[in-house]
Amino acid sequence: MIQIKNITKSFPSVVALNDVSLEIQDRSFYGLLGPNGAGKTTMMNLLIGYLQPDKGELLIGGQKQTPENLNLRKNIGFVPQTIALYDDVSAQTNLEIFGSFFDIKTNILKERIDEQLNAVGLFERRKDLVKTYSGGMKRRLNIAASMLHNPEYLLCDEPTVGVDPQSRNAIFDLLQKLNSEGKTIIYTTHYMEEAERLCDKIAIIDSGKIIAEGTLGELVEKLPYDEAIIITKNKQTIQHRNSLNDFGVILDHDDHFELKPNNGIPLSKFFEKIEHLGIGYQSVELHKPTLEALFLHLTGRTLRD
């Protein structure tokens, strides 16, 4: 179990984390969702022992995490936000280098390297220089490099930044497989879709504070409505978007609008309006509210503001 107890961490110009407390159960897939600058990366840097908290303490598997506790790190895998690899050598060499720091016997490390290369689908290209890889391949290798010592805890700091949808799905599958094998995964993201898809428990963080925590179901229950109205984006709906403002707050997603209905507005009135505007019913569906809506509800801002 990971216990984060009343952690505060400040930098000269900002309080990055302010009295944060969390408990993360073993074998869980725990999401830390928040906009850029919310304090997610600071939390990760504290968890890996890179930073020292100003106040509070971090316990991982019962051991206190500090920059000096090097032994604890043998049980933690870390996937940095950046692609932390050496570009001018092969994938295999990268894994040999990063694996060498964990006191693994040479023959076992060799087996682990092959396992990880197979797991991330790069075995065939293991001898190619990393700089010849696509962004998605580098991201997968970035994860493989964190798993060589078979850690119990895997900390992923926005591991899909800048990745195409196909590679993203491959990374999700990989992480879910690792979780199903018993790894505890902590995953930071500012994409609510990722948190919703992957995490069995989510903490929403904003300006260094945890503003909500729970399972997806528990979180959306905090909203004052049960269902959101999803309106598919097309020429008509985009044209009449503003005409629907009376019914609630409209969130703009990539391919749809999400209407968070105002309290007391009957759905029948909404559908009358839709009909009047000539928007077909096929463009509208009722859906469970998203974490985006919850974040808006709690902070007055969207995750990508």
Binding site: R73, K74, F78, P80, T82, I83, A84, F98
Partner: protein
């Protein structure tokens, strides 16, 4: 056209924002120009303070005159005394002056013997003992000594002619001839006969006169017995002298580049990945340090062996001591690279500062031309550079073939510089912008 101008303005704005590019464009050339200007031109042109041990065993006024002329020459620092083993100031004699040169404390020794005239049929005789480890400097020094002595010829010539006459005609007949000649010259040129017959008694100081346009005839009037005291066995003096300086300059570039790879590792997140492993910050720093020192040793050894293969530099007779000074130099250069990594914030910044400091250190440290060619205030700064002490150590080992005791000061100073720089770097690293 407007768009082109806007693009030009954009280029300038980006250029001005890039402080490193700005520095490299203007500050580096200014500094190097100033150093080269001080060496090869301007008001302070020429060498300054080449160390010359000096012994005047003669009571002859001409010897005194040479001594005074050398004393007032800025290019030469005339050393007439030294501190003996009991730290008492002693006057040089012929033997101690030679030893002083042999141990590298002076570039040469000039001995004016008591018999400056007696054992030569015509002209002066002096002894010049030298260490040509710095060839350009030695050529300059010889030139200065010769010029100073020739400058005395105008006064010396009549006296030497009289001695020749007396030698061939005998003292009586020669004396008579000289007196008659003096009367004749006196009559036609209206010159005091005393000035012709007894020039030593007269005011004949004319040491400022240069002799560059004197005919070669006068060359026979002065005999300088030259003896090379050090480096006689060196097979390729030029290469032996220059390889150390160039090797050091390239070593500094290599190690600076290597040390500042920390920035790339930080930017890519590799530092964070390493620190998420069972590795501490200090272990990363030590690994960089040890890697760079070993790389530096390998690079310098490689360059000296290439020097042996290509230029026949005598690397192996004193290889162990060479290795010691190479190691000390590599440690000091690595410290320099780590300091850049500690103080700079980006690879570009480190590269800019590195270029500026390395080129400056190379020029004032003696890698490109002798330190003695620079103004004295720059020579002070030369002794603060790694290149100066490394090059000096290389020359001690390769040129003079000295043992470990003689290079201990060089090793000590290089390690001292490294220790000082490392302390400053560690303090800066602890402030934490790299980690």
């Amino acid at each position: 056209m407007k768009q082109i101008l806007r693009l030009v303005v954009k280029e300038y704005r980006l250029f001005i924002a890039d402080k490193v590019a700005l520095g490299l464009t203007f500050i580096v050339p200014v500094i190097l120009t100033a150093i080269f200007g001080a060496v090869f031109g301007g008001t302070s042109a020429g060498p300054r303070g080449i160390r010359l041990a000096f012994v005047n065993e003669s009571s002859s006024p001409i010897a005194t005159s040479i001594e005074e002329a050398l004393d007032t020459t800025k290019a030469v620092r005339l050393l007439k005394t030294f501190r003996g083993e009991n730290t008492i100031e002693q006057k040089f004699d012929s033997l101690s002056a030679k030893e002083y040169v042999q141990k590298g404390s002076a570039s040469a020794a000039l001995i004016i013997p008591a018999d400056i005239f007696s054992d030569t049929s015509l002209g002066l005789k002096v002894k010049f003992f030298y260490d040509p480890k710095n060839d350009i400097e030695m050529q300059m020094l010889k030139g200065i000594v010769q010029r100073t002595m020739y400058s005395q010829l105008g006064n010396l010539f009549p006296q030497m002619m009289q001695k020749q006459t007396e030698k061939f005609l005998g003292a009586d007949s020669g004396g008579l001839f000289n007196r008659e000649m003096a009367l004749l010259i006196s009559e036609y040129f209206e010159v005091d006969t005393n000035l012709i017959l007894h020039p030593n008694l007269m005011a004949w100081r004319d040491s400022s006169e240069t002799t560059s346009d004197r005919p070669d005839f006068f060359a026979d009037l002065i005999r300088i017995d030259e003896t090379q005291l050090v480096g006689q066995k060196v097979t390729n003096p030029w290469a032996t002298r220059s390889v150390g300086g160039w090797a050091m300059m390239f070593l500094l570039f290599t190690l600076t580049g290597s040390a500042t790879s920390l920035f790339d590792e930080k930017k890519s997140g590799v530092v964070l990945r390493l620190l998420a492993s069972p590795i501490s910050r200090i272990q990363i720093l030590w690994s960089k340090y040890l890697f760079n020192v070993s790389l530096g040793v390998v690079q310098l050894v490689f360059l000296f062996i290439v020097g042996w293969l290509m230029f026949d530099i005598n690397v192996f007779p004193n290889f162990f001591n060479l290795l010691l000074i190479i190691t000390a130099a590599a440690i000091a250069c690595t410290a320099f690279g780590m300091m850049l990594a500690a103080f700079c914030r980006t690879t570009q910044q480190a590269s800019g500062w590195g270029t500026l400091l390395i080129l400056s250190m190379s020029s004032i440290g003696g890698a490109w031309f002798p330190v003695s060619f620079m103004p004295e205030y720059i020579q002070f700064f030369s002794k603060l550079t790694i290149i100066y002490w490394s090059m000096d150590g290389f020359l001690e080992v390769l040129w003079r073939g000295v043992g470990i005791l003689s290079i201990l000061p060089n090793i000590g100073i290089l390690l001292g510089i490294a220790a000082l720089v490392n302390v400053v770097s560690v303090i800066q690293f602890k402030k934490g912008h790299v980690f």
